[in-house]
Symmetry: C2
């Protein structure tokens, strides 16, 4: 019979690895819930036109797209935003604003597989729809920062590099001649990944001569919010620039008030690769630089709901990817342990199944993880299995013990064991252990 | 700009509906965890050959299959079993047996959309690998029954109809002539959905003449485990039949010992549609019959791991689907409510953002769901929003109140409100309410 191999860029998560992802996901989601983000669920498959209609999008070449049995052109979703935009547009009238949604699910892109990057990858998307105010941007930053802190990262483990698309756009428009702002912003996004000449060539291709390209790049060097005024002075006639600078300053101030200002660094050269961002954008980086690339990013995308058929609706969000997040947690030494844990193993010796089952059931009703024999195994084989699943306590239910009305309680870490009256196990003990009966 | 519609048979779950699925999923998973099933995660996309190599499988026509950019024939997985079989086979040596896995995820089949049946559907798969003992079958039954009970269903809300593939197979082989057992078992699976003549025609097509077909069907009428002996007497020379009858009786006895025997009804006409089942099989039905079809099913599939390239490995599992499960919960009046809930709304009046943010942060650190203004809204608009998200308590942080060192605490249900010292909010209160300060 043939053996099958899983597809390249896809992952089988066995129990220990899944325990890690579960803990990370639960932590991120729990922080999002506390900020009042509400969980939604979305189709994994969508009309391909949601991506192919927008020409010039790099994503299209990476789609897992195909025709279904009904002749529909469909694609596995490579990102959530168009889907939530579609959902928001479909119920915009009846939804109470702001709408705050989160969801954790996989996405798919056919691209080169590398460390921390897979063709099937899991993200928790966290978005606010219906507020253009800087508080919404700041709340998204605060949710992300709190999630990282809750995961065990220290303040000096990570940094949010905050930029603003409208500042970049207004600066570019202030230069003479025709500049392709989208191409120039993509060049900025690539600036850290290519050498300087290539970066300047890209800006040149976007319509800036080399002197202007250097001047533009110099302007982006500002890293102190206090110096943003000087930046605004570069094009004093640009109301757009003044408004964008003011907005970025307001976002940073709101982040301060929300208690996460220290995590935010002004970094205009952080541009975010995707075209649809409109206002403040940010990327999370490993502060040590050991994880070389952006861990995740987010930002404002005020035009997208309208592009998907809705009324103009401001929106801002962030989407931590679980694989790169895992790299950061590992670098910082705070990744959850890849193990399975068991509270009790109820060991059966002889024909004691009804009593063993009753004990297991009582322990489970108290919320504990309890296994018992389902393989007709010997005492020794059961004990070995209990060890392999890291059971804290083994309860031995033996025929002879039962004749005396007793079970044996064994603490696996120490090997200590004692007997307990079978009627008192678990009795009124919430989590009976060796110590309760020794 | 174009508007997009989601694909037929796919669902957008907004927050209230997702809250229902979340609660159901969490409950089912929590029961599985307590039985020692460990969560895994699996690729949504697999090599199509995992399904197409097995000819004659109805599933193939329903696949969302396509060729990826690398020329691979791939498919969205229509079920979990081949994937976990592949994963088990890949690590069979190092896995501690029995292997007990669960996972909740979507699957896809291109088929007719009807009530409670979608093209993208979510299931929690719960499986034991590596034990051929009846205790493993019983543990799967017990896990499923406990999950339904924990969801709020009463004992008389549901029933597990338990059958045995090897009994059906051995009976069929005991007839003279060549009988296509697979076809005959599929006929049994359809017996409740088609009229009697059609059913008998199907059995006839499988190689039983009409007299034998009636005789076979009569044999399946046994519904008391005590009468299984008579069934075994039908073909006294068949060791297979005797062994299968014995196995089914052992499974039912083990289910009794595990405390779920009352949920199990002997029902040999329950055959399960899928070809790969080998031993005990069961389907969960709405006891009132209002939900007409099987809610979910499970059973033993001892040959499948080997079919996927592993060593022969016994396996048994169950896979509750969340949409049909929802129908049963609704019929019984125990479906979770489709709502969103909020513990606190922190209302800002004037320039009080830092204090409001501090209070919101303190409340969140105690685990509460807390929202505050991110839209620059008026008092009235904020109160209206707090009402729309069903906030229990509104904390009004106003400029004038703050001058007196106070905030206002408003209980939304009664409308009662009082003031509290800002420093004492939340102070050492774990969940401060109106009552704490009135």
């Amino acid at each position: 019979m043939p053996t099958y191999e899983r597809l390249k860029g896809f992952r089988d998560l066995y129990a220990p690895e899944m325990a890690v992802r579960r803990e990370v996901t639960d932590t991120v989601e729990s922080v999002a819930r506390r900020y009042g983000f509400r969980e939604i669920d979305t189709p994994r498959l969508e009309p391909a036109a949601m991506w192919t209609d927008k020409s010039g999008d790099d994503i299209v070449d990476e789609l897992y797209a195909f025709e279904d049995h009904g002749g529909r052109h469909v694609t596995l979703a490579p990102e959530l935003t168009p889907t939530v935009a579609r959902m928001y547009a479909a119920k915009a009238q009846e939804l109470s604003k702001p709408v705050k949604w989160f969801s954790t699910r996989p996405f798919w892109r056919y691209e080169a597989v590398q460390q921390g990057r897979f063709r099937e990858f899991h993200q928790t998307n966290i978005d606010v729809f219906g507020s253009a105010e800087p508080e919404a941007d700041a709340e998204v930053l605060a949710t992300a920062a709190d999630a990282l802190t809750e995961l065990g990262l220290a303040a000096d483990d990570f940094e949010f590099r905050v930029s603003h698309r409208d500042i970049l756009g207004a600066l570019l428009r202030s230069f003479e001649g025709t500049v392709d702002a989208t191409a120039a912003i993509r060049a900025v996004d690539k600036s850290e990944k290519v050498d300087e000449n290539e970066y300047l060539d890209l800006l040149h291709d976007a319509g800036l001569d080399y002197d202007r390209a250097r001047e533009f790049d110099d302007l982006l060097a500002v890293d102190d919010p206090a110096d943003l005024d000087e930046l605004a002075d570069f094009a004093p006639d640009s109301e757009d620039l003044a408004a964008a600078v003011d907005n970025l300053r307001s976002v940073l101030r709101a982040a301060d008030d929300l208690g996460v200002g220290d995590h935010c660094d002004l970094s205009l050269r952080t541009a975010r690769g995707l075209d649809y961002y409109t206002g403040a954008v940010f990327e999370c980086f490993d502060a040590t630089g050991e994880v070389g690339r952006s861990v995740f990013g987010g930002g404002r995308y005020d035009d997208l709901i309208e592009a998907f058929g809705g009324r103009p609706t401001p929106a801002v969000g962030v989407a931590p990817g679980h694989a790169p997040l895992g790299l950061l947690l590992e670098r910082a030494g705070v990744a959850p342990e890849a193990t399975v844990e068991t509270d009790y193993y109820v060991l059966q010796v002889g024909d004691t199944r009804p009593t063993a089952a009753r004990i297991a059931r009582d322990l489970r009703s108290r919320g504990h993880v309890v296994e018992s024999d389902v393989s007709g195994r010997s005492f020794g084989a059961q004990l070995e299995y209990a060890d392999s699943i890291d059971a804290d306590t083994v309860v031995v239910v033996g025929e002879r013990d039962l004749e005396d009305g007793e079970v044996t309680v064994k603490e696996m870490a120490s090997g200590d064991q004692t007997t307990a009256p079978v009627e008192a196990f678990p009795g009124d003990h919430d989590r009976p252990t060796y110590d309760d009966f020794a």
